[in-house]
Amino acid sequence: MKKILPVLFLLALLSPWPTIGPGLAATESAKTIVLPPEDWDLRPGPGLQRVQLSCVLCHSLDYIKLQPPLTKAQWSAVVTKMIRVYGAKITADDAGTISDYLAEYYGTEK
């Protein structure tokens, strides 16, 4: 938060628009919004940091919590889809670590 807030304040100061609501600046001809902070919180466990670093480049981590409990095979398929379809830069080793973590902490076995 320490490093982000000054950036946001700076944006607000530089903005030529009056602020008319939380996270919103607008006139008749322009609109700017500031999205609220993301939720980074996942269950602690082996592989958590690898999951956070690999997944967050494309989407917030609440995507993981959003899913229904999935089997190990289903989570592996999700990770494979991220690599093959969306081009996530995840090594085979890391893919295994990530699938294991997801199945353990967000799987059907719990």
Binding site: K31, T32, P36, P37, D41, H59, S60, L66
Partner: protein, 395 residues
């Protein structure tokens, strides 16, 4: 189009590890499926599915209103690099491709075409996905990724005709200001067949419920394809391109497809032999009041209230059961806002025994399309329109 603070900038600025430790703005420790309400810019508190890209669901109580308030309408983006700023002095809508005279429109130019206003249901293809059994991955929407909105805009066909569609044109593609967070993720681009794109009722909308579009709902303009699922309603539109061959982008060729079967469904857990792009919405009804899980008072008259709509055909009839489906009566239909809108319905009822009750509603449209009593299933979690059970307690 300025994007003040993109995902990449954010991660670059703070570093992912620092950010993980430092950013704790939202409540934590909740289980999947729990209702967590958050407030995004221009929005009231909505159920959070995901924050980047934003996916926000409307609490059902807003559906007691005839049209859904802008601040309560659901939000669904596909790519995390979403537009957070648009300046109309520099924004342009480009029309090009297989046309004789490509051109650009300013926001003011756009509004000079003939104005069209109607009310239409906007509904995510995955609305109701969380009810699938077996469960399927994807946004776990309840029934709140839909809304009834009065749209103001101009006809897409007027915009296309001005460019002069050349012979051999087969599809029109739509691209918005959102972009992929990394270059390997396919940009969100959708297409419509040429004959569909030229239909009278498809508009480029610049107002929702009489005010400019909210940023998260597509400011300054979005495509409205009434009767079809919202995947086609491209937000923050920047480019319309006419093609002389079918578009083969990821979001048409691979994503948003349903099994090519009469119901768009399959035996649970199986894979389709052939798929087609999702298009027209299935017929639905939903009980809004009394809310599921609520308690009603014995011998006190009440009105069961709900909504019903279909993919472009008016609702002819809604029947309601208060005894789990053994007996049915006709609901009284409310004001008709047109064939693309949802219609409210009411069913007076006096519970005369204490205990648990199962309420059901089933809609039929003017061409006989209705709703299944059984689960329907497909691998992506689309087309949900099962007759749902609303359980309440009478004391």
């Amino acid at each position: 189009m300025e994007k003040d603070f993109t995902r990449r900038d954010f991660l670059k600025t703070v570093g992912a590890a620092t950010a993980m430790a430092a950013v704790g703005g939202l409540p934590s420790g909740l289980q999947a499926g729990e209702m967590r309400l958050v407030k995004f810019p221009e929005k009231t508190e909505l159920r959070l599915l995901s924050s980047r890209p934003p996916q926000l669901e409307t609490p059902l109580r807003y559906f007691t209103e005839e049209v859904t308030p802008n601040e309560a309408l659901f939000v669904r983006w596909h790519l995390s690099d979403i537009p957070t700023a648009v300046d109309l002095s520099t924004w342009r809508l480009r029309i090009g491709g297989h046309v004789t005279a490509p051109y650009e429109l300013t926001f003011d130019d756009l509004k000079r075409f003939e104005r069209v206003i109607y009310t239409a249901v906007i509904q995510c293809s995955g609305n109701g996905r969380s009810f699938f059994n077996p469960r399927v991955p994807g946004g776990q929407w309840g029934n709140g990724s839909m809304g009834n909105v009065t749209w103001t805009g101009v006809r897409l066909k007027d915009i296309l005709r001005k460019a002069g569609i050349r012979p051999g044109a087969v599809e029109v593609v739509f691209d918005g200001l959102d972009g992929p967070p990394v270059t390997t993720v396919p940009d969100f681009i959708k297409s419509l067949p040429m004959d569909k794109a030229l239909e009278e009722d498809i508009i480029v909308a610049y107002e929702m419920n009489g005010t400019p579009l909210l940023m998260l709902n597509g400011f300054p303009v979005r495509i409205v394809v009434p009767g079809w699922y919202a995947t086609y309603w491209v937000k923050c539109l920047k480019e319309i391109t006419v093609l002389d061959k079918p578009f083969d982008g990821f979001w048409m060729k691979t994503a948003y497809r349903i099994p090519d079967t009469p119901c768009g469904c399959l035996p649970p857990g199986t894979a389709p032999a052939k798929t087609i792009p999702i298009s027209r919405m299935t017929t639905r009804s939903l009980i809004i009041e009394p809310a599921a899980g609520s308690t009603a008072t014995l011998n006190k008259p009440l009105e069961i209230m709900g909504i019903a709509f279909s993919g472009g055909f008016s609702i002819k009839e809604v029947i309601v059961s208060t005894d789990g489906g053994n007996t049915w009566g006709k609901a009284r239909l409310g004001r008709d806002l047109g064939r693309y809108a949802w219609i409210q319905w009411r069913f007076p009822w006096k519970p005369e025994r204490p205990g648990r009750y199962t309420l059901l509603a089933k809609a039929t449209n003017t061409i006989g399309e209705s709703q299944p009593f059984d689960d329907l299933w497909n691998p992506a979690g689309y087309l949900w329109n099962k007759v749902e059970k609303t359980e309440i307690l009478v004391t």
